[in-house]
Amino acid sequence: MDGLPFPEYLSAFREDLIGGFQRHFLLSVYILVVATAVGMILGMLVYRNKLAAAASIGALATWFTIPSIALFGLFVPILGFGLGTGIPVITMYGLLPVLRNTIAGLNSVDSATLDSARGIGMGRFRILWQIELPLAWPVILAGIRVSGQLIVGLVAIAAYVGVIGLGELLFSALQNLGSVNTFNQAVAGTLLVAIIALLLDAAFVLVRRVSTPKGLRV
């Protein structure tokens, strides 16, 4: 196989690689923000109603079981190739960890704490905002973190329905097995996706440290 040596490949295709990296990163973050927002809002709406909570988690879990490949393929005729399909589908996937953790986290607040809050006259909304959310935050954040990792990976897979990002490299490598650049593309693609995942994870460690209320910091 006569491809470029890896370092030379990197410098030769630097602009493309950086471009792909940026697009992939931004897209992942964008989708994560949307998934977090929708997931948390939905979670806050249903967490107190067992049936609604179970139903929404159940529905999303069923969705989750379906392989992304299949789901992308199913929506292409309706939403078209590219981001039209990519964004909604990936967002739906990203919802589950956030929703599940939001519900679990909000429900895990000690009933004694809630009782004293009500006892001193705090209203429903205030309790949610000032008591439940801060106490549930570590759990919710953990869910967002899982979601982030998931989304980064899915953006790569979505390349096969035309979502432009680092996934292109990987699928190109896959479809041109044994060609000169297969190895380079595969390694570059995998490495860069891993870097994005690690960056996101590191960002989370930071966010967790900064945003966890002092009293809860373990």
């Binding site: 392989p67 490949i69 990987l170």
Partner: protein, 260 residues
């Protein structure tokens, strides 16, 4: 000696069995949904205006053949994963080697498909066929199941393990009689996730010629035949749901009655 009928227990009323019945009617929802979807899709395909390429792509013969391959690959992967991950998990939780556990557990989520694609591409340059696909996917699936095995064994109540040791059960007796039975639900959950992951990743290995329903999906994209794409996607989705459902049933059956 007073009998139960004469007793008025000061103790709190005992909690009744959580789940007396093994199966509930809601269990049938998913398989029913799947059957309906498959039948509808097949019917639709038979009626839809497809050109010859597409029709060939989604012929019943092909669908059946690819589905069988897909299932076979999936099963082999999971069997391999369990055969490696569970014994390994047991080993890591033994007294002498327990220090390894935190490292394994801290490894984070390697469960993304992206690295798998890369690896498939690289290995696929050298070797194609059934076993390369199986081994690559299995390799990636070991960590989650290993993690579940470790967590499952570690969460067995300390008091129960102490009582078992204190009454004179041998280490082997404790492992097979107490730890593993009580860890089964969590290990089974891991195996179930592994199954679904396998179903999802097998199509990515299509270019390695191991077979599977990816052979409908990827050519459909290349040839821009959307009906076939949807068909392939539908079948993959249904397969995943059914295998997950079977996994759930198996999980329930394998869980010891006392802790269901």
């Amino acid at each position: 000696m007073t009998t139960a009928t004469e007793q008025v227990a000061l103790d709190v009323q005992p909690v009744l069995a959580r789940r007396d019945r093994l199966f509930v009617w809601t269990d049938l929802l998913i398989p029913l949904l799947c059957v309906v979807v498959v039948v509808s899709e097949l019917f639709y395909l038979s009626q839809a205006p497809l050109d010859s390429i597409e029709r060939d792509l989604v012929s019943n013969a092909r669908i059946w053949e690819y589905t069988q391959q897909h299932i076979l690959i999936t099963i082999v992967i999971v069997v391999l994963v369990l055969a490696v991950a569970v014994p390994l998990g047991v080993l890591i939780t033994r007294r002498g080697t327990a220090w390894i556990a935190p490292f394994v557990l801290g490894f984070g989520n390697v469960g993304q498909a992206a690295p798998i694609v890369g690896l498939i591409a690289i290995i696929g340059s050298f070797a194609v066929g059934f076993w390369p696909v199986v081994l690559i996917i299995a390799a990636f699936s070991i960590l989650p199941v290993l993690r579940n095995t470790i967590v499952g064994i570690q969460q067995v109540d300390v008091g129960v393990k102490d009582a078992a040791r204190g009454m004179g059960m041998s280490p082997r007796g404790i492992l097979f009689g107490v730890e593993l039975p009580l860890a089964v639900p969590i290990i089974a959950a891991g195996a179930r996730t592994s199954l679904v992951l396998a179903v999802a990743v097998v199509p990515l290995g299509t270019d390695l010629n191991a077979g599977g329903l990816g052979r409908i999906v990827f050519p459909a994209i290349k040839l821009d035949r959307l009906e076939a794409l949807v068909a392939g996607a539908v079948f993959i989705a249904v397969l995943a749901l059914l295998i997950d459902w079977l996994g759930g049933i198996a999980q329930r059956l394998l869980t010891p009655r006392g802790i269901r």
